[in-house]
């Protein structure tokens, strides 16, 4: 019976049909099974284990038991709240910087590059193929004490201002918050540029001409036409920058000092050196919850819920 109803009436005007869904009711489940199983076992289940670890007490020697010891959360927060605040501040600063730096480049590639477009695109992506640790170490050379960059900043009295703001100290940039934010910005900049470029590239060039014909100045065109149309790119770009930056510990470790430790550094030390698993699990859980809440709120506010 089913076979009969599925045959379309001949010569009937066929609406743009969706893909055929006739064969195999079970096919999608077979296709999904291995991959989803992998994610359930190695992504979702570990989160459950982590939640359970965070409420355990005990020691490495005697083993851990679930005792619903929620005080671990309180202790972890009261001891490490400066690192949490720092992570959010550094990640937010890096995200804003990435947007300010990345937007002109994405705009350039989308509208002004002409035949250079592909080459610039390659140059944006190619650094990915050199290990990011090697590239982050290069910032140690660039920002070295007494090097040309620090010398110039000093001569221009920029360092006086950043010292006053507490971003640097003395004649140094290395091992200060400024160096860490600079490294975070550098490392996550491509994650901002690529989504921005994708959404800018979709904008119909005739809209710019139309705005110009209606006597909009270039900046007005940007403010009223281009930027609003690029919001999906801005939203996904800021998320793709903020989330990894907030959990990062590589930049804070290589370019910072003990005063720039972020929550990622604490989780890493607790897990791999101190071996205080409950505290580490609690910290990691708080970080995850904080980021999920912030991201949900942000996506709601910016009205682009169909990102997923």
């Amino acid at each position: 019976m089913a076979a009969v109803t599925e045959v379309p009436p001949p010569l009937a005007p066929t609406a743009p049909e969706k893909a055929p869904r006739k064969r195999g009711r079970w096919t999608p489940y077979w296709l999904l099974l291995p991959g989803i199983l992998w994610l359930v076992v190695f992504f979702a289940l570990p989160l459950v284990y982590q939640a359970s670890t965070s409420v355990q007490t005990g020691s490495l020697e005697d083993g851990y038991k679930v005792t619903w010891h929620f005080a671990t959360y309180w202790d972890a927060l009261s001891e490490y709240w400066p690192q949490f605040v720092r992570s959010v501040l550094y990640a937010a600063a890096a995200t804003v910087l990435c947007l300010l730096l990345g937007y002109p480049l994405a705009y350039l590639i989308a509208f002004r590059a002409g035949r250079w477009r592909n080459l610039i695109m390659i140059l944006v992506i190619a650094p990915f193929f050199t290990s990011f640790l090697i590239r982050t170490l290069a910032w140690k050379t660039i920002l070295a004490d007494g090097g040309p960059v620090v010398g110039t900043l000093n001569a221009l009295h920029v360092l006086d201002i950043t010292n006053w703001l507490g971003w640097t100290s003395g004649d140094r940039v290395l091992a200060t918050p400024l160096a860490v934010v600079c490294g975070l910005t550098y490392n996550f900049l491509p994650f901002m540029i690529l989504p921005l470029y994708t959404s800018l590239e979709r904008i119909d060039g005739r809209l710019h001409e139309a705005a110009g014909d209606l006597y909009a100045k270039p900046f007005t065109t940007f403010r009223k036409v281009t930027f609003p149309l690029s919001t999906p790119g801005v939203v996904s770009g800021t998320l793709l920058t903020f989330i990894p930056a907030a959990g990062d510990y590589v930049n804070a470790d290589l370019l910072g000092s003990t005063d720039t430790r972020m929550v990622g550094n604490v989780i890493q030390t607790q897990f791999l050196r101190v071996l205080d698993y409950p505290t580490a699990a609690a910290l990691s859980f708080i970080l995850m919850a904080a980021i999920l809440i912030m991201v949900t709120f942000y996506i709601r506010r910016s009205g682009t819920e169909d990102l997923v």
Partner: protein, 266 residues
């Protein structure tokens, strides 16, 4: 005045190129310092020109071994994530089924989660199961976090595919297997290739998740991390420079081939 006007017109271009400079400066430094002959253990200060490191890229103990481990893991993780991810992408685009929303969220969440959280929670799982940390735990972790990126890349391509092409193939008496191999797969190939390339790059360069789940196995990023503490050999820069050059060359050659094909078609 003319200069100010010129500056105003090209402000975006200048700002964009400055950003590009910021992005590429570290690569320039890495390349230049691959020809350095440093005093002491760290390669952060320019001393004098030398090609010693280029002549003997594997002259540092354990570095090339770590490179080969990284390559093996990246290849297997790419294969695993691409196969599993492509299957999921096809299921998501082509079929309606229950729990679609839950599946989409499960795909999205690993990309919206800081790496350190995934790394730490996976380690608690392995510790609880008493698993031996090493090559296999790294591989499992890499397939896990590459999977979502492959799904996203392949999904985008399959979604833009015209389903009528497959219907046409079936109208011409192609069986399901033949349709898939001759029509569907070739059209989806660029998306699959993009996903695979992304997975390879992500796996090869991963440090945070690997650092948690590697045990005593040392991948290349972990070797670099360790050397940042003990002393950075110039050979690290040689590998970095060579990888950058190979990537650019690979893209340029594939673009040239693509151009030639397009011209032949025209």
């Amino acid at each position: 005045m003319a200069f100010v006007r010129w500056l105003k017109r090209h402000l975006v271009v200048i700002a964009g190129l400055l950003t590009l400079g910021y992005l590429l400066l570290p690569n320039v430094i890495v390349t230049v310092f691959s020809f350095n002959k440093p005093k002491g253990r760290f390669n952060y200060q320019w001393q004098r020109f030398s090609t010693d490191a280029w002549k003997d890229p594997c002259g540092v103990a354990d570095m090339c071994g770590s490179l080969s481990i990284s390559l093996q893991i990246a290849v297997w993780a790419t294969i695993g994530a691409t196969v599993l991810g492509t299957m999921i992408a096809f299921a998501l685009v082509r079929y309606r089924f229950r729990a679609r929303g839950a599946v989409s969220s499960l795909i999205f969440l690993p990309m919206a989660m800081p790496e350190v959280v995934m790394a730490a929670s996976l380690l608690t799982l392995f510790l609880n199961m008493g698993a031996q940390l090493g090559f296999w735990t790294i591989l499992i972790a890499h397939i896990m976090f590459c999977l979502s990126f492959v799904v996203t890349a392949v999904k985008a391509r399959v979604m833009s595919m015209d389903p009528r092409l497959e219907q046409a193939a079936q109208d011409l008496y192609a069986g399901p297997v033949q349709t898939f191999l001759r029509v569907t797969l070739p059209i989806a190939a660029p998306g699959i290739a993009a996903g695979a390339l992304l997975a390879f790059a992500l796996s090869f360069d991963d440090f945070i998740i690997t650092n948690f789940n590697a045990g005593s196995t040392v991948t290349f990023p972990m070797f670099v991390w360790g050397s940042a503490q003990r002393g950075t050999p110039v050979q690290i820069n040689v590998i970095g420079t060579a990888m950058f050059a190979l990537a650019v060359l690979f893209v340029l050659v594939s673009m040239a081939i693509g151009n030639r094909r397009n011209r032949q078609k025209a």
